[in-house]
């Protein structure tokens, strides 16, 4: 996973509440067995017209926002399906940060696994950032993860909260599995105890009666 330390880029406004992961990445394209190259299907239904041409009204089809690295979203961003294809497609497009008043839990989690930083900020602040994001080429923001700040186009800094574990993983680009494997002894001890306390759970899927 790529580290996330500091990010400067154009922020695109996406003022849609309950933006579900079907809208971010439609189910029909889940047939892929790859996790790369998925941006071609990102926001498929709203980004393209029925004939396959770009919908000029959609924000990511407009000049300054084609290079967007940040999305400013609305409440309950990423609700619905658990598909990680949603963050994979965002990442492939170049989005490394999504800012919204609230996120659906699974999408929020999935972002961190892919080096995308989801930032929760109060609605009033998101409303201001949404206005900033409408400034086209001037909608440039800087995210500094170490100091947990978003710098608005006018230079004002906004602080955001983030749990320390997730921050550390992003800053260092830590592979979760490698981290957990270091706890192999703890896992082994747990399994030994569980095998005594709840023995019926072991060998379960292989011992059909």
């Amino acid at each position: 996973m790529e580290k996330f330390t500091e990010l400067t880029g154009v922020a695109a406004p996406l003022p849609i509440i309950n933006l579900d992961t079907d809208k971010i990445f439609p189910a029909i394209y889940l047939k892929t067995i790859k996790r790369t190259g998925l941006s071609q299907w990102l926001f498929q239904e709203i980004r393209f017209r029925p004939d396959g041409s770009e919908n000029p009204d959609f924000v990511l089809n407009q000049a300054p926002y084609r290079q967007a690295k940040i999305l400013i979203g609305a409440d309950n961003f990423g609700c619905g399906s658990s598909r990680e294809h949603a963050p994979w497609a965002l990442l492939d497009f170049g989005i490394r940060c999504v800012i919204a008043p609230s996120f659906a839990d699974i999408f929020y989690n999935n972002c961190f696994k892919n080096g995308i930083l989801p930032i929760k900020l109060p609605k009033e602040i998101c409303d201001e950032l949404m206005e900033d994001a409408k400034k086209g080429a001037n909608a440039v923001m800087t995210i500094d993860l170490e100091s947990q700040t978003v710098s608005r186009p006018d230079g004002e800094k906004v602080h955001f909260e983030l749990d320390a574990f997730r921050k550390r993983c992003l800053l260092n680009g830590i592979d979760d599995i490698g981290l957990t494997e270091q706890k192999g002894a703890d896992i082994g001890n747990y399994e030994e105890k569980a095998r005594l306390g709840r023995p019926w759970l072991f060998g379960m899927t292989q011992k059909q009666a």
Partner: protein
Amino acid sequence: MAPPRTLFDKIWASHVIAPQGEGTYLIYIDLHLIHEVTTPQAFEGLKLAGRKVHRPDATMAVADHNIPTTNRKAGAAGITEPDSKLQVDTLERNVKEFGVPYFPIDSIDQGIVHVIGPEQGLSQPGMTIVCGDSHTATHGAMGALAFGIGTSEVEHVLATQTLIQAPAKNMLIKVDGSLGTGVSPKDVILAIIAKIGTAGGTGHVFEYAGSTFRDMSMEGRMTVCNMSIEAGARAGLVAPDDKTFAYMMGRPYAPKGAAWEQALAYWKTLPSDPGVKYDKEAHLDAKDIAPHVTWGTNPEQAAPITGRVPDPAQVDDPLKRAFMERALQYMQLQPNTRLTDVPVQRVFIGSCTNSRIEDLRAAAAIAKGRKVADGVVALVVPGSGHVKHQAEEEGLDRIFLEAGFEWRDAGCSMCMSMNDDKAMNGERVATTSNRNFEGRQGKNAKSHLMGPAMAAAAAVTGRLADVRDFG
């Protein structure tokens, strides 16, 4: 004395391996269900890193999302769509290479992953269960902590049988009283979501309690728990009780003999302690719940069938109003339209929400002696090979076929329309599935969520209909 704990608190505590520090924990996963759509990239990751599946004996694989619901006797070789075949072939190759147990698509044991878990006795009280699918909450009906995960987490569980998680908060959803005639568990959960909203449960685990759930069948509890995610909760649980234990007993993968007795004693310790406090609560009265249908593009946009399409002009918040306007535009519905005046062209009875035997019985009771309306295509897709078999034993297939419904093989089918089962040309669908998102059932498809008897009623009338009008 130890403070009282909820069902969730107890399951959580018994699965913490170690604190990860900073408010997160490493927790153990008892059962990992996997399917063809969200695992190829996870297995690829394992291979690249040279890792094994840590506990194949706690993992079960099945293909369900992306398979045809016809010609299944031919197995994977009978899949004609190349991308779907590649995905199923990839799963079959991976389970073989990593030694993971698997129900092949021509087996009677195959079915929708959230139907077969309980059906096979794999999903048990007190377990932690995960799957790369947000409707994993279904297994909460067994009194298990079950939730959906992304593919990176699937890989993490395959490699280590653990997950790094922060504990959720507890939310009590209490419903008391008897459901009226024609009111189904689907109506209960649609009413709950309409009340608390699609993000009402974010960060929380639901516990469904009260006499309505106590009196509900296991299948009904599964329908309710299934849609917890549509209210934002990753998991929803019902405390295990005698009904749960009776359901579990004798199932293929349930413990037997002395192990059964040991498990049963443990399961009985799980229900929430008296006097325990929840972080949040919602209360509903069963007698206020009518058969519901959705009118919009999000499960919270639901109303009693006797109601009308709401008017966005009544909504103050600009983003909420815009969302509602967009929904009505997509659904091609005018405010104040009577819901029973809305025509449908397609009907889908199936999905992990409503494809169990009880659902098929409820739909068949309406279909019996009636005909699918002219111009309506209606599909019945059982949740598993066993459900299909049982329905055929009971003669339900004859009832559906005589009424003009199609009778298919088990799979996710039109819930997400990855296979050929989909609405064409923007058709309007009466569906027993769980999501009415834009495009979910086909390009421009207009989905109305409802219970199985309501969907059958829509099929025979050709419009949204109140099941209570059918004698």
